[in-house]
C-alpha cells in the first residue's frame, strides 16, 4: 500500500449529502475480477450523459478541477454498499484524500486499506473549503497526516482527529494482514479454548 504522509493537490467540491457507493461506482462495473482500472468508471452516471459523453456540468469534468486529488464532499459520504470498488475507483482516478463532515463506516475502512485518507472536518469548515474551491482559481490544499492538518495557503487551516492505528498504517503503508498473522499463536489458543468450552460452535463443515 502506498504510504500517505503529506499530500498537496487540487481540491474538487462535490457538495451533496449521502453520496452512495452506487453513484461512486455503478454496479455494471463490479463484474471485473481485477483491483485496477476502475477510475474511468468513477461517478459514471454523473460524469456521463445517457449517450456516454462527458457531461460538462459535472464538477470532475470541468477544466479547473482537472487532475484534482482531494475530494471535498458532503456528509455521510460513501453510504450504502460495501463494494471496495468505490475506494479503488477513487484512488485509480487519482484521489489521495477525501474531506467531508462524515463518512459511512465500511467505506472509510475500505479507503484506509487502499492508502486513501478520509478526513472528517466540521460541516462549517467543509462549507468554507467548498466555497473557496469554487471561487479561488487553482485552489489547492495540503493534507498533512503527520501534523493531522489541512491547509489551503489562503489562511484556512484546520486540524483533524484520526484513529491512531489507522494513521500509523497509512503513514507506513502497512499490510495489516501481516500484523494480524503475528498473533497466530493467540488465534490458535483462542480456537482451542472455544473448541473445548463450546464444541457446538465448531466449523460447520467437516
Amino acid at each position: 500500500m502506498q504510504p500517505f504522509r503529506v499530500h498537496e493537490g487540487t481540491g474538487a467540491p462535490l457538495d451533496r449529502p449521502n453520496v452512495d457507493t452506487d453513484q461512486i461506482i455503478p454496479k455494471q462495473f463490479l463484474k471485473r475480477i481485477e483491483r485496477t482500472g476502475f477510475g474511468e468508471f468513477l461517478f459514471y452516471d454523473w460524469r456521463r450523459t445517457g449517450s456516454g459523453e462527458l457531461d460538462p456540468q459535472f464538477v470532475l469534468n470541468q477544466a479547473r478541477y482537472a487532475g484534482a486529488s482531494i475530494l471535498v464532499a458532503g456528509r455521510n459520504f460513501g453510504c450504502g454498499s460495501s463494494r471496495e470498488h468505490a475506494a479503488w475507483a477513487l484512488a485509480d482516478f487519482g484521489f489521495r484524500a477525501i474531506l467531508a463532515p462524515s463518512f459511512a463506516d465500511i467505506f472509510a475502512n475500505n479507503c484506509a486499506k487502499n492508502g486513501l485518507l478520509v478526513v472528517e472536518l466540521p460541516e462549517e469548515t467543509i462549507a468554507g473549503i467548498t466555497l473557496r474551491a469554487r471561487e479561488i482559481a487553482g485552489y489547492r490544499l495540503t493534507v498533512d497526516l503527520e501534523q493531522r492538518s489541512v491547509d489551503d495557503g489562503h489562511g484556512l487551516r484546520a486540524e483533524f482527529a484520526i484513529d491512531e492505528f489507522r494513521r500509523y498504517c497509512l503513514l507506513e503503508g502497512l499490510d495489516d494482514i501481516g500484523l494480524t498473522l503475528r498473533c497466530a499463536d493467540q488465534i490458535t489458543s483462542y480456537e482451542d479454548r472455544r473448541g473445548r468450552e463450546r464444541p457446538f460452535q465448531g466449523p460447520p463443515f467437516c
Binding site: 457538495d15 451533496r16 449529502p17 449521502n18 452512495d20 452506487d22 453513484q23 455503478p26 454496479k27 455494471q28 463490479l30 463484474k31 471485473r32 475480477i33 481485477e34 483491483r35 452516471d45 445517457g50 458532503g74 456528509r75 455521510n76 453510504c79 450504502g80 454498499s81 460495501s82 463494494r83 471496495e84 470498488h85 475506494a87 462524515s102 459511512a104 463506516d105 465500511i106 475502512n109 475500505n110 486499506k113 484513529d163 491512531e164 492505528f165 500509523y168 499490510d175 495489516d176 494482514i177 500484523l179 494480524t180 498473522l181 503475528r182 498473533c183 497466530a184 493467540q186 488465534i187 483462542y190 480456537e191 463450546r198 457446538f200 460452535q201 466449523p203 460447520p204 463443515f205 467437516c206
Partner: protein
Amino acid sequence: MTGGCTLFDKLWDDHVVCQPEGQPALLYIDLHLVHEVTSPQAFDGLRAAGRRVRQPLRTVATVDHNVPTTDRRLPITDQIAARQMETLRRNCREFGIPFFDIGSAEQGIVHVIGPELGLTQPGMTVVCGDSHTSTHGAFGALAFGIGTSEVEHVLATQCLPQRKPRSMQVFVDGRLPKGVTAKDLALAIIGKIGTDGATGHVIEYAGPAVRALSMEGRMTLCNMSIEAGARAGMVAPDETTFAYIHGRRFAPKEPAWQEATRYWRSLASDSDAQFDRTVEIDASALPPYVTWGTSPGMVVPVTGAVPDPKWFAQETDRQAYTRALEYMALRPGTKIEDIAVDRVFIGSCTNSRIEDLREAAEVVRGHRVARTVQAMVVPGSQAVKHQAEKEGLHEIFREAGFAWREPGCSMCLGMNPDVLQPGERCASTSNRNFEGRQGRGGRTHLVSPRMAAAAAVAGHFTDVRKWNYEEVRDAAVSRA
C-alpha cells in the same frame, strides 16, 4: 464502568482474541460468507502473498449477485458475469471452501441461505463482503458487512482488527397493526433517525413489537440497519429463534442442542445495561410506508404526499430533496396513492423469504396484475422457491400475471439482466432506492411485500390496510 452488559458487549468480549498494544482488538470470526462479486481480488491477494485460507470450513460461498433468474438450463449470456462466477468456483476448489453453485439445491442469496441452512446461530460473529450482512443479527449474532481487503484478511487469519462501535437501542413498543410489517418498521426507523443516524453504532432492537416478530420479520428489520448507517443490527435470541433453528441442516443436534440453547439463553442485554443511545418507537401507531426519493430516509406514510423541499431548514438538504424530486419525476404535494408504477419487484435479501412470499400471495390471490404493470417474484433461495411451490404460491402469482423466477439478488441491484429501463417506476421490496440502483434512470420506491403486491394489482400505490384479504395461516405449519 458501572451497570450491566449489553448483548453487543457480550458478543464482542467473547470474540476478542487479543488486544495488541496500540492496535484495535482482534476479533474472531465464526462464519464467513462469500459471493462472486467482492471476493476475486481477495483470493488474488492471498495468492500474491502465498497465504492460505485459515479456516476454509468456517467459510461458505455461493453465487447470487450476478446470476440470471431465468431458466437455469440456458447458458449464461453475460460473459463477464460468467467469468466472475467461474473465478469463484475455481477459488473455492483451490482453497477448499464449500461452495453452493448455481445448479445446487442450496443456492440462493447469501443472507437467505445462511439462516435457512442453520449456519447462522446466536452468539456468532458473521461477516460477508456485503453490507446487508447485518441480516444475520436477527439471530443474536454480531454480523456486519466488510470490504474486499477485509474479506482477504478474514480468509487469511479468521480475524479482523476492529475498534468497538458504540451501542444503540431501538425500543419498539406496542404491536404492529394488521397490514403493517417489519419492512414498514424499518422504514419508519430510518425516516426518524436518518440514513446516517446510526453510523458508528451497533443497534439492538428490543421491545414487545420486536419480540412479536417472526424470524423473517427480524431478518428484514436487521437487514435494513445498514440503511440507517449502523455497523450491525441485532435481536436477542428467544424461543422464536430456537424454534426456527431447530432441525436445520447445520443446527446443533442432540445432545449438543441442549448445551447450545442453554448458552444462547444467556445472550441478552442485562436489565441495567447502558446504551450509548436509545430511540423509542410506538409500533401500534405505524402505517405502511413508501419511499418517494433517492435515499431510504426519504420516506412517508402511504396516506401521505410527496414533501416540499421548502420544508427543510438546511440549504444542502433543500438541494438534495429538489434533486431527488427531479430524478423521481415527482411534484411536491402529489398523493402517494396517486403515483402509478410500471414495474413491481418482490425479492432481495430484505424480503424474499417464504413468509414474505406468503404475505404477497395473500394480497394477490384472486386478482390480476394491472395491464400497465410488469411484475416479478424472485424467491431468495432454491429452498424458498421449492417451499413456495409446495404451497402453490407460484400458481397464485402466475395466475395473477407475475413472472416466477429463479433465486438471486436480481433487480435489487440489477447486476444481472433484471433491470429497470430509464424512466420506469418500480414498487420494490428491496432495500435501496439510490439513483440508478435498479437500472440507470430507473425510479425505485421501497415498500413491504404486501404493499408491492397491492401496487401490482392496483397499478399505483394503495393502502394495503384497506385491502380485503385473508390473514396468513399458521406459519409454523410449514417452513423453508
